[in-house]
Symmetry: C2
Subunit: 334 residues, 2 copies
């Protein structure tokens, strides 16, 4: 994963490179890795596991607690709240369209949805399980999980590998197409207002799309330095540089402040903003991105236009059935 | 509510009265109060509110966090975990078939689902909102709630009264009919095993059905004293008498240790047991109920038969769609 670092950093710094604004609609299907084809049985099992709070030590926190599939795919908190009311230092990224991220987590430390799904479960301040062996033992103790695992993966299939594969398969279905933006790009010129179209043009003109490009507005590079132009005034308010991003994992000074480029889709639903959730409104987030990434000061009108455009990136949420989770045997979560 | 106390206590103490075991199936519809007819618009809104964690101070706890509609209607914990990891002293009762309870909460302090729904939201260790005024203000700030409230109640309808009515209307649809027991009583004699039928007969013979009677096994009285026959040995282990039940609310010594008679339906899914969640398994719960309520010592075989019967009370869960909650404006929950 870290091999592409230099190239990515180089791309990130090459802000003068001209990038064509190829406006792309969101695919309605996400590509799956060769060893985890998306099947209905895996998706069904994955939906159950994703919503099952028994994957946490206290029995109170599911994947959906922080990446809420009834909302904008996260929790609208600066930092999520894990088991026993603990909070970490980062804001939960949305699960909607996460299938289109090249890497996962704010620091991009997971190369796939499968790898990502394994992390929070045993993070002591997130879901707090001591080990995946404990998770597997618990899943095996819930009689009703045997059959859906078998249906998805074959006999005696309850394992970390299969649980994370199922969750990833489910997440690959969490796609929100047909936003006003997608309709506009597909030819419905009335789908965006005049203000939204001005905002769309401004986003390209300013260079936001150097990083926020492609169908999910999260490419072409995987990582970007943030802030590009550190500023003591804003730092004092929002503490953006406190988190060293990828370097927190790699311990390599060259990776300092590199973050995964987050999708802009459904961004109107995912306040507060940035990796540390320090910015409460989209207006302020747009203003700060222009200052800290592009060294530009936007007018109020420009900000309003861009925010209007970003509101046009809210898609249609798939209709889901509520999972029925298998019953708990006589045991407790303290 | 407290007026019926003496009658109830009298009934509770009259354990020598012979009660005919009229085995009844679960109705598929719950009666609604005159001022809150169950309508599809109310149920839909109620389902949204029930699953919305933004009804809590931290944005992390919804009604469904502790009364989980994907599970046995509760959280399988001894005590639920509210905002900021706080825990109280009682175990969450199941929401499934709560519509058939005459009173709500373990201490029966709420006379209706509507009254119950108002409680946890402003309880400091449950959902932690400072006041219902704050809840209403927050709901009004979520633009997408205006329309479903209007559809259910008319214009400018966002209020505590309507929010709790909608939640109650939704809860009245959370009914689990067609358990093996119901099928057996309806004439399918193969629906229960020979062991389950022995357990069913034993339940009547022992007198469990003095209190656990009617279609939801939670009548005819509203309250029952627990324990009826205090026992130091078991008290030291399970601290059953520590909680004074209705007297904690009424402050009337005559109400000490009076609790709502809980439903037995889906009991196999709702470990751990009793108002304080102190008993981990159904075997032990049955053993203790016989000792502490009836003064009887059951054999292992009798316990196994009764537990087998109780497993036959697990019903069919209605198919639900996953609600899509309206987006959060740019604001945060700390």
């Amino acid at each position: 994963m870290f091999k592409i670092r230099s190239l990515v950093t180089a791309l990130a710094l090459a802000s003068s490179v001209s990038v064509a604004s190829a406006w792309e609609t969101l695919p309605t299907e996400a590509p799956a890795p060769a060893d985890n084809a998306t099947t209905p049985a895996k998706v069904e099992l994955g939906q159950m596991l994703y919503h099952d709070p028994r994957l946490s030590s206290t029995g109170t926190v599911s994947c959906s607690s922080c990446h809420n599939t009834m909302l904008g795919g996260e929790d609208n908190r600066p930092n999520s709240m894990g088991v026993n009311g603990q909070t970490g230092g980062r804001s939960a990224p949305t699960v909607w369209n996460a299938a289109f991220n090249t890497v996962q987590f704010w620091d991009g430390r997971a190369p796939s949805l499968e790898a990502q799904a394994a992390g929070p479960v045993t993070n002591p301040i997130e879901m707090g399980m001591k080990s995946w062996d404990d998770v597997v033992a618990r899943l095996k103790s819930i009689e009703g999980y045997e059959q859906p695992f078998e249906k998805a993966f074959g006999k005696d299939a309850i394992s970390k590998d299969n649980a994370t594969k199922a969750i990833a398969a489910y997440e690959r279905t969490l796609i929100t197409p047909n936003s006003p933006y997608d309709k506009y790009v597909s030819g419905d010129k009335s789908a965006l207002s005049a203000q939204q179209i001005r905002g769309m043009e401004k986003v390209a003109e300013l260079g936001c799309t150097h990083c926020h490009s492609g169908p999910a507005f999260n490419g072409p590079g995987m990582f970007q330095k943030f802030p590009m132009i550190p500023d003591g005034y804003w730092e004092a308010q929002y503490h953006i540089s406190k988190d060293k991003g990828l370097a927190e994992v790699s311990k390599n000074p060259a990776d300092e402040h590199l973050f995964k480029v987050p999708t802009l889709r459904n961004i109107a639903l995912t306040a507060p903003y940035f990796h540390n959730g320090s910015v409460k409104t989209l207006d302020k987030a747009v203003m700060l991105m222009a200052k800290l990434q592009l060294g530009k000061t936007l007018t109020k009108e420009e900000i309003a236009d861009i925010v209007a455009f970003l509101n046009g990136l809210t898609g249609e949420f798939p209709k889901q059935k509520m999972p029925v989770l298998p019953g708990t045997p006589g045991s407790t979560f303290n």
